[in-house]
Symmetry: C2
Subunit: 160 residues, 2 copies
């Protein structure tokens, strides 16, 4: 298990993501700890992250899966290139597709555990799977298609 | 177009959802206005709902699609049964599956428009599609499988 989350190696200027940016005070601060085979993240939802009383909001679950899976794609890509995370040129991905199957109601008040793996890694596209557990019960299963882009600075401009 | 959002007809006790509950002060207050064929919702993200600088966070987009699509399923089901929304017995759905394709970066600072339709309606399962536009550009397309449950009170208990 790495000591640092992959998100801690993202450049300061782009570390503002509501999901995983360390420089977003209102954000969720999702952090992916990658051990070379699996990404792990523990998260305690706030009481207001509710759907119905007692159940975690599905949009929060989707958010956790999204950033944790992108973090997994980034960490795995540095590893595949034999490079330390955070070294330049920056490796960066955006979400192309997010799929979440809600398998069981996720109880609120319990620490959630996310575990992710790389299912496929291509030159431009990496598919990451991610499962959320609460009290060892599998509550949701996600799949994210992560698209490699040249930079997150000016993302959305031509040639990105 | 109905005057009231479908979420305004949800019972007080369960209207606490982070996405669409009117009784969740920290929540997003997603509201679905259903005209009999289409559900519409306008939303202005906050500056902190960012992914990278200038782009809306994908987890927020997933959250908007989730609650707006569930609201659409509920509204369409009352219509199919020829009943006024909010009449008892309550019609309620939970999310079984959520899929979001991110087609274009969603610019932050722009009002987003969500439009939803019912693709399939079964006895227990309704599939809703939802598109998010910014400045008339299609930014994301979602599909939600909504599962009808007998009640949101005690959801997660056997027989729900």
């Amino acid at each position: 298990m790495t000591q640092h989350a992959i998100q801690d190696t993202y450049p300061d200027e782009i570390a503002v993501c509501y999901g995983c940016g360390r420089h977003n005070p209102q954000g969720l601060h999702i952090k992916t700890y990658w051990d070379g085979k699996e990404g792990v993240f523990h998260f305690q939802p706030e009481p207001y992250h509710t759907a119905f009383p007692g159940v975690v909001y599905g949009g929060l679950i989707a958010s956790l899966i999204d950033c944790h899976s992108i973090g997994t794609a980034v960490a795995a890509a540095y590893q595949a290139e034999g490079r330390e995370p955070g070294t330049t040129p920056e490796i960066t991905y955006v979400t192309g597709n997010l799929n979440v199957a809600y398998l069981n109601p996720t109880p609120i008040g319990v620490e959630l555990v996310l575990k992710s793996q790389v299912k496929e890694m291509g030159r431009r596209k990496t598919i990451v799977t991610c499962t959320i557990y609460a009290n060892d019960t599998e509550c949701a299963r996600g799949e994210v298609t992560a698209i490699r882009v040249s930079s997150r600075f000016g993302f959305g401009q031509p040639n990105n």
